[in-house]
Symmetry: C2
Subunit: 204 residues, 2 copies
Amino acid sequence: MKSSAKEKILDAALSVIRAKGYSATSVDDLCAAAGVTKGAFFHHFKSKEDLAVAAAQYWSDMTGKLFAAAPYHAHERPLDRVLGYVDFRKAILQRSLPEFTCLVGTMVQEAYDSNPAIRDACARSINGHAHTLEADIDAAINEFGIEPPWTAPSLALFTQSVLQGAFILAKAKNGASVAADCVDHLRRYIEMLFSQPQVKEYAP
Amino acid sequence: MKSSAKEKILDAALSVIRAKGYSATSVDDLCAAAGVTKGAFFHHFKSKEDLAVAAAQYWSDMTGKLFAAAPYHAHERPLDRVLGYVDFRKAILQRSLPEFTCLVGTMVQEAYDSNPAIRDACARSINGHAHTLEADIDAAINEFGIEPPWTAPSLALFTQSVLQGAFILAKAKNGASVAADCVDHLRRYIEMLFSQPQVKEYAP
DNA sequence: ACGACCATACCAACCGGTTGGTATGTTTGT
DNA sequence: ACAAACATACCAACCGGTTGGTATGGTCGT
């Protein structure tokens, strides 16, 4: 049997925690969703916190594969790859709410102050994903020959900020359309950054 | 006695829930932080859920007063008021992490799927706050005589998306500087929207 | 003025159910 | 045979919520 209990528990964690949040998800919930017993759970994870850290890593692995295999990498021009990433994120919003939201974005809100191990695991996941954008952004900067007052890592993190915030708005409004609007603004911002001379700081 | 038990519980809710999250915050936690007994709690709130809904409203009232009294409204030009709002948000980031983050943004992540009453209360709070920006944005559109492909409500919600996402990144990285960077990007975007002809959709 | 009446505000003790976690098996793969 | 992979049974602590009760202060008829 390849899909072992451990993997079933991790899969269950992704969906259940994204729907209910980390604290509200009990170990029993996870076991029921995974179809395993508590004994199996504590055989593979020494605590609920340990599961959360493993789930964050598992989430990174899964999404890493998803984005690595996405078609936007095929674009020749760096800016097209960056905008292709944004379009790809927008396309994912078609799925249902608990399916397109972010596991680590949800967990870190509950754990940042009380559980450093989970917080750091979430930070690694977000930073790692943002990092995959930096090379293309830097290449686009070179392609356009601009000398922007911002850096590639900073813009990469900004895209994540918009997406994480869009998820929150989508949850509040119980629909994805507001998130799609936010992604549109993000796309327009990136287009503008590469389509014209940088504006000077506006200070009245 | 002016500061009654009810108000002490609500004040405690704002800080404790922002630090620990909604589910991880027990009624006993709230009572201990507020210095009241459980009897007092359930006298004023018929359930923990009821407290959460009331806390979201209380949060709206508090932040509403804060932003209504903020100095950026004094600017003559509408765009200066919009940018002044952004700068004001950035200034608030100086405070400590649990102090500058958003109660309803935290709660809605845990409640959107399992607790519609809390979700709707959070949505009202976010929408209400975003709405306070719309008049200035519309006035800025008129001032500049532009006909943008986006609407004032959409841009107002986008600002909230950036801020909510910035809070998540700040929690993950355990520091406010990444949030400040995001707000800088947001400011640059708004400046660009009003400082040049709109770019056409970029489609390779 | 004054007790009868009553609503509000609050309290300490308690309840049944759930929690994360453990102790002790039993099954399975090699 | 033997360890890793699972299952069963169980526990102490904690959970949200209820209980029966007290203290306070306002309102009413008289």
